[in-house]
Symmetry: C2
Subunit: 215 residues, 2 copies
């Protein structure tokens, strides 16, 4: 069995979303020591900004119209991304919140992937595949906080993964990862430690359950 | 006076967001016949996917650490985008909903622009600038509809433009633009005609008010 892991952090060192996903992956590796992990770092090696529009142009053009080489390349890239995703039995998406919204690189990847016929429509090839989405937010967005309602990414990612692509999805969230980085947040140090421990525990449980769900 | 206009549609022909923004621009030109419009087509000429991470790396590096040429180019690109935006007295953003979320190209542009010191922090250079956001959705997302709650872009764009960048913002929305394109929606033809007429009327009023607000 294979785990597909996508990271959308633009950082390699010090990335909290990677650290959270690492815990899930540890549990996967503990439960499936002979299996492999397919990595896709869309934050470091992003899909080009032109790929999705070109793939859409190819889709929308009449059947008898010749495609440009650029369009064919974009369609091939979409197919390659989908091949990687579908090569696995389970999936792990580690995506930070950036500027209160979705990672531009994760959105670019989703837009491109959804152009492939296997991932569009009512019966996507990922239907029923167990998956974990690990979301990390620098601030705190809980009820009553000044940022309540400012997370426009998590809900969208859940819709796409769970309702459009029909993954069997579990979500792990961590907040306040900017505590310790931004001195203005120093008063929340204890709370951040607690939130991180809780997120790590959840990630561990989700990782174990991911193994169980592919049994 | 100058109007800055950003289009995020990946189409040039047949784009509903462009058509809606054209109405706003017509009113601008009628009210200010001797003024110019600065155009930025981020859906057709997108910011590279690597620009924002490079600009962030440059920002985050210690002051005495040397920047790479790539990082310096990304910082210069951010500054160029902000120069264009700030060269105008009013702004018009025409952004379609794509896959229930924000345009990847608009998000990439926002991420990059926000790295510039003039657009970050509590006193962004656009504070008080009159602006119109024209949003177009292919489906219908109204209360009670199957897609209620599926628009994850408009709320985010309003937050960024109105609350983060403090534009004096008006919003024009059009829905059901896929009626006439997707045969499954043919039963909604009359409703779509009505929605379009209403959106056009709103766009005309917002365009006039944009002229008035820069008087």
């Amino acid at each position: 069995m294979t785990l597909y892991r996508l990271d959308a952090s633009i950082r390699v060192e010090g990335s909290h979303s990677r650290a959270l996903a690492d815990i899930v992956e540890e549990e996967w590796n503990a439960g499936r020591p002979d299996d492999t992990v397919v990595n896709r770092h869309v934050g470091v090696d992003p899909v080009p900004a032109t790929a999705w529009p070109l793939a859409v142009q190819s889709l929308m053009a009449p059947a008898d119209e010749e495609r440009t080489l650029e369009q064919l390349d974009a369609v091939a890239l979409a197919a390659h991304e989908v091949d990687l995703l579908l090569s696995a039995d389970a999936a792990l998406f580690a995506v930070p919140l950036y500027n209160f919204g979705v990672s531009q690189h994760f959105k670019a990847w989703v837009d491109l992937v959804i152009t492939d016929p296997r991932m569009a429509g009512e019966a996507p090839a990922t239907a029923g595949t167990p998956a974990v989405l690990a979301v990390v937010r620098g601030g705190f967005y809980g009820p009553g906080s000044p940022r309540e309602g400012w997370d426009y990414a998590t809900g969208w990612m859940q819709r796409i993964l769970s309702e459009v692509w029909k993954f069997d999805l579990a979500v792990v969230e961590e907040e306040f990862t900017l505590v310790g980085v931004n001195p203005a947040l120093d008063e929340f140090k204890d709370m951040a430690v607690e939130l991180r421990a809780k997120a790590a525990q959840n990630a561990r449980e989700r990782g174990r359950s991911l193994v169980g769900r592919t049994a």
